[in-house]
């Protein structure tokens, strides 16, 4: 996982990678939340281009971050999910919580 904070836009970009299951999401949650509370961004961008697997634990990960950033007045954007991950996101109704965009350059 890599992250980049854009101070002027107050955007926190998280480049997720590998497999996001229950085991991994517990680790990712801590890393992301540390950065969230450090920067208090107005936009949290989760980039899925390098994610090779995701189950409902990934949905829980997104929902949990939404619950943190939404009361701060921030929003979540999801970008570059594979077709398969896009299907899981839609099945979970994630488009109601976050803007989902494909084909976004880094």
């Amino acid at each position: 996982m890599k992250m980049h904070y854009d101070t002027s836009k107050r955007e926190l970009l998280i480049l997720l990678d590998g497999e996001i299951d229950h085991h991994r999401s517990a680790l990712l949650r801590n890393e992301i939340d540390t950065a969230l509370y450090a920067h208090m961004p107005s936009v949290l961008i989760l980039d899925f281009r390098d994610v090779t697997f995701m189950d409902s634990s990934g949905i829980g990960l997104i929902m949990g971050r939404y619950k943190i950033i939404q009361p701060m007045g921030g929003e979540i954007q999801i970008q570059n999910p594979s077709a398969y991950i896009g299907r899981v996101l839609r099945l979970a109704g994630m488009e109601r919580l976050a803007k989902i965009s494909e084909g976004v350059s880094a």
Partner: protein, 149 residues
């Protein structure tokens, strides 16, 4: 029913074994040559089932998870995931989308919805105190022979 192949394994209910279960399923499916989507769907299904056993069956206490995979005739994959954990007192409620008993673990309550969406049939046998057995079936599409160019 006649089966063409079978793989059984038992492992402790720890979260690092979720990826082990996915890897076992992927390896078992190699001879069937599934499409990328079929493989992705079924890896998700087994991940949800095994995670349920670990998180909800044993609530992170110790115990074993048993996985049985069978290839049945007509390219039907059979998956059984069982635990001897706390069981599900109300199966119908547990299968309701967004219902979860572990919100503090950030469970989305979508495991059963995903398993149902990505399989052709799902059966749950469980009662409080007696563990849980999930059985699922998914028919794979026909193999398309590579065309000589």
């Amino acid at each position: 029913m006649k089966m063409l192949n079978e793989f059984r394994c038992v492992f402790p209910a720890v979260s690092t074994n979720e990826s082990l279960a996915r890897a076992a399923l992927s390896a078992f499916l190699i001879p069937a040559d599934p499409t990328a989507q079929e493989l992705a769907d079924l890896r998700t299904v087994i991940s949800e089932a095994v995670t349920n056993a670990i998180v909800h069956g044993y609530r992170n206490s110790s115990g074993d998870v048993a996985v049985c995979l069978r290839m049945l005739p007509d390219r039907v994959l059979y998956i059984r995931v069982s635990d001897k954990g706390c069981g599900i007192p109300d199966v119908e409620q547990a299968m309701t989308p967004l219902y979860t008993t572990a919100p503090e673990e950030e469970r989305a309550g979508l495991g059963f919805a995903i398993m149902q969406e990505f399989t052709d049939s799902l059966a749950v046998r469980s009662s409080a105190g007696n563990g849980t057995v999930l059985t699922m079936r998914r028919k794979l599409g026909q193999i398309h022979e590579e065309q000589e160019s």
